[in-house]
């Protein structure tokens, strides 16, 4: 039996696919140009068309990521890579553009490196949070076979857990440090936020995205955002999905209480 993911793929996957495709396009374009040159056409050998297409791809992906994650670093990075890619054409031999334009390519390249280094924390945290959020949603949907929709914005009452405040705080620190969920501390409860859409790095309130709240008295409440729910290929039975998500956090907390924290990571990584 073949495996088929229940969640739509991440935008990040388009980058390697796009870059790989661009290499094929470059080879094709160069071959075509060589053929045309041999037949006497007055053109150069540089694959300008592919360069423009790849530059546009980075720009468009940056904009798409902005709309999805609401994190400004992606459109800025997309723009920088777009500019740099467009300047690659100046590096080709027989290009008669002035020499300073070749230098601008290297300046842009250094700018990209600097930008990534300065915002490394945001890039890294976002990617780790998104990967683990996807794993959480996959885990939650593993044993749900009913697809009768039933989405509601209302929080789901996921029952109660037995734990002390210290245990809960320790559990929160563990999940935050392993980028499983971003943790927000409130007066009477802790909010564990996770999202496949809006970046967890830019939110200021845990309730802005999907979240599980565990009160210090042990009450568990689950809220799954409309956007995250729509990322499933099927309209899974919503109450079952919320109950499953509550079950995951209760189970993870039990693992933590029993000193089996590593099992949390193992279980997350096993989600397919």
């Amino acid at each position: 039996m073949t495996y088929k993911s229940r969640i739509r793929f991440s935008i990040g996957w388009i980058y390697p696919i796009g870059i790989f495709t661009s290499y094929i396009l470059i080879l094709l374009e160069m071959a075509m140009r060589r053929m045309l040159m041999r037949s006497g056409a007055d053109i150069t050998g540089a694959p300008y068309l592919t360069i423009v297409l790849v530059a546009l791809m980075f720009l468009v992906l940056g904009i798409v990521q902005w709309f999805r994650y609401r994190n400004w670093i992606y459109p800025v990075l997309g723009f920088l890579i777009c500019i740099t890619t467009a300047q690659v054409s100046f590096l080709y031999p027989h290009n008669d553009s002035p020499g300073f334009l070749k230098i601008t390519y290297f300046i842009s390249f250094v700018l990209i490196i600097l930008f990534i280094l300065i915002n490394w924390n945001s890039f890294y945290s976002h990617e780790r949070f998104e990967i683990n959020s996807r794993r959480l949603f996959r885990l939650a949907s593993e044993r749900i076979y009913q697809a009768d929709n039933g989405y509601t914005e209302r929080p789901f009452s996921g029952g109660k857990v037995n734990c002390t405040k210290d245990e809960l705080l320790g559990f929160a620190r563990f999940l935050q440090s392993n980028y499983v969920a971003r943790v927000f501390y409130y007066e009477t409860y802790i909010c564990f936020s996770f999202s496949m859409n809006r970046s967890l790095v830019v939110i200021s309130e845990g309730r802005e995205v999907s979240h599980v709240m565990i009160a210090y008295d042990g009450t568990v409440t689950v809220t799954i955002s409309d956007k995250d729910y729509r990322d499933y290929h099927e309209r899974l039975s919503f109450d079952k999905l919320c109950a499953s998500m509550a079950g995951i956090f209760i189970r993870f907390l039990d693992y933590y209480k029993a000193g089996l924290e590593q099992r949390i990571i193992t279980e997350l990584k096993s989600a397919r």
Partner: protein
């Protein structure tokens, strides 16, 4: 006294000219609407309506007279004291239908077009906003909930979950018995707005 009469009496007494009007009626043996209106500097229709309300409440008597012109009424005060006794008993829900309602199995309706806002403490629903109509006819109705009502709705089954009886949800939400009437009230309102769907409990043979 029923609610309609009480409302009429309350409305009469709340007029800013009411005390002067009663003083006039107490002073004069009887008085016509036009005389009272000119004396209190009111419109004749205002004075006429006030006197007719007092007559309908039994506070004033009237007598039809005609002095060579078309007949008109002269009013005199019929009582020296006004007491309001309003019976609220009929407004309390009967106990049996309430118990019957507790067995109703409910859950949130699919695509209910309602937005539930949770409290800051995140353990009850603080308000429900319901939209009805389309386009320019779209209307918004906001229901602010009491804390027991909010706790009850917090535990309301989701649209795809199995419906649960009102009684069971109340137990799950930890709602006390004396809050049940307000719970049933909000359930009835939300059923009318098609936010909640209810199925009658199955009767055992």
């Amino acid at each position: 006294m029923d609610f309609t009469q009480a409302a009429k009496l309350g409305s009469c007494l709340s007029k800013d000219y009411a005390e002067d009007f009663f003083a006039l009626l107490a002073t004069y043996r009887n008085i016509s609407a036009s005389e009272a209106a000119s004396r209190l500097n009111l419109h004749i229709k205002t004075a006429q309506d006030f006197l007719e309300d007092l007559f309908s409440l039994g506070i004033a008597d009237r007598e039809e007279v005609s002095e060579g012109k078309r007949p008109y009424f002269r009013y005199n005060l019929a009582v020296r004291q006004i007491s309001m006794n309003l019976d609220l008993n009929p407004l309390f829900p009967a106990e049996d239908p309430e118990k019957e309602r507790l067995g109703l199995k409910i859950r949130e309706a699919q695509n209910s077009r309602a937005r539930f806002t949770t409290s800051r403490s995140n353990d009850y629903i603080s308000s429900v906003v319901i939209w009805s109509g389309e386009g320019r006819e779209r209307r918004e109705r906001k229901l602010n909930l009491s804390i027991p009502q909010g706790r009850f709705l917090f535990h309301l089954p989701f649209p795809t979950a199995e419906p649960v009886s009102i009684e069971d949800i109340a137990v799950r939400a930890g709602i006390e018995g004396n809050n049940i009437p307000e719970i049933i009230d909000i359930v009835n309102v939300l059923i009318d707005f098609e936010v909640i769907e209810g199925t009658a409990p199955s009767t055992r043979p």
